[in-house]
Symmetry: C2
Subunit: 277 residues, 2 copies
């Protein structure tokens, strides 16, 4: 059988990948989840028709969303991950010995369950005693907790569907209050080549809540255009001010992130700089 999965970008272009077999296909209260065995990229997780990760390349996204805020903070002992039900972001967070507790609030238990079953390497964090997994609404959790975390990582799906409230200015104000006085957040912020309107609005919202806001980027193949951006929001420290740069050398199994990438990820091409100025 010649079976292909296709993800469309604004209906007019897209990514296609050849599929060996469907490993799981189901629907939770929140979204549709498919796990597919590809020919080229290992297993692939798809939520509501959009590629979330492939085994071959998940490292770039997870390393970049997690390590940048954690290195920028001088003492990130308590970390909160919103979303990220596959476990990849938490896996990267827990590579930092300095982290005492990583709380992860995922709305959809099915994603966690199936990640444990089909992506044990990515889901390895769920066995870590420092991980506190809470199945709940991230928006509500952040609203209910004040002055509680050093770093918050928003590892959400796109701003259409269950993650929509996670792109609002009210949400970012709550993130600010959920952080301690010198806290830092990171959030996935889409592709600057394609989603210019969403990005402009998202960064305006973050700027309404944080005094220090920057975009940084990484190569994430098989996300739309392969250029992915992340928002860095900070209450006190710039990314250059107090980075634990030497601690990068203690992080194991880094396929992407290193000392130079930490800094250069913030150097934006002109068209991306224009979006967030």
């Amino acid at each position: 059988m010649n079976l292909w999965f296709t993800e469309l970008y604004e209906n007019d272009s897209g990514f296609a990948v050849k599929i060996k077999e469907t490993l799981f296909s189901g629907k939770s209260e929140y979204q549709k989840l498919d796990i597919l065995q590809t020919e080229q990229l290992g297993k692939m997780m798809v939520l509501d028709g959009l590629v979330m990760l492939t085994e071959a390349n998940e490292f770039s996204y997870h390393e970049m969303i997690a390590h940048v805020p954690l290195i920028a903070h001088p003492n990130p002992e308590r970390v909160l991950v919103i979303g990220g039900g596959d476990g990849g972001t938490a896996r990267e967070v827990l590579k930092h010995e300095i982290v005492k507790e990583c709380v992860m609030v995922e709305i959809d238990e099915l994603v966690v369950e199936k990640s444990k079953e089909f992506f044990p390497e990515i889901a390895s964090a769920f066995d870590n005693p420092k991980l506190n997994l809470i199945i709940d609404d991230g928006f509500k959790y952040i609203e209910d907790n004040k002055n509680a975390f050093d770093v918050i990582i928003i590892d959400s799906t796109d701003p259409i569907g269950p993650a929509e409230p996670l792109f609002s200015s009210r949400f970012y104000k709550n993130v600010n209050e959920c952080l301690k006085t010198d806290g830092i957040m990171s959030a996935q912020s889409e592709s600057p080549y394609l989603y210019k309107k969403i990005i402009k609005l998202m960064y305006a919202n973050i700027k309404s809540a944080f005094p220090i806001v920057k975009m940084y980027t990484g190569f994430v193949p098989f996300y739309p255009t392969g250029m992915w951006s992340f928002a860095f929001g900070s209450k006190k420290y710039t990314y250059q001010e107090k980075p634990r740069i030497e601690d990068i050398d203690k992080l194991e199994n880094l396929n992407y992130f290193n000392r130079k990438i930490y800094y250069s990820a913030f150097d934006l091409p002109n068209f991306a700089k224009d979006l967030v100025k």
Copy 2:
């Protein structure tokens, strides 16, 4: 009509884009050329089934292949472009006032003709009196000219088809001899996520011909994986040694390249560093 163009990556994944109409479809002595009007990305040029450029995003590739070697060289008066028949690389080269002559050797006259007809903005360099267009075999031209250029840019197609000899060690030795004693070359060098074997071989070949060899990268959407690499080969100067960094501010209409990108493009993710060490 619901018409889609698809480019496959090693047969198991690919890029698809919706087509309004085919503007030109023809075959030269060397390759098949198609020019398509897309819904999303403007006009698109396709050679032997592979996307060469889209109007929406051609800037990133052309700026990165041209400006990096030209900024690294203290006095790039004579520049040679091999390939690049669409004219985009020459357009970027000729933004540098210091350039006295840009020789462009393209094997396929059909590409030049059709680029003038369908991509006048990209082909604008062909009207520039500093451009010397030669329709000939780039391999032969380089073999026949010694000690003649400050910068050589290899803007070739992939190493399958007419461009194959442009990836051999003999070719890079000839490039070295075609350069003056302090000359610099750049060459497109494929995606580090997908073409690991080709890249290892290509960089080994360049290292056999040049004492200073580096990889740099840029976000090139709708080339495979969106991460594109370029080889930097130099006879004398490192990229940090004599860059005309202030001259970047004199370059007009840069959508991608800037002072910080010049340096940070050389900061590679770990998996890419491993390929070229």
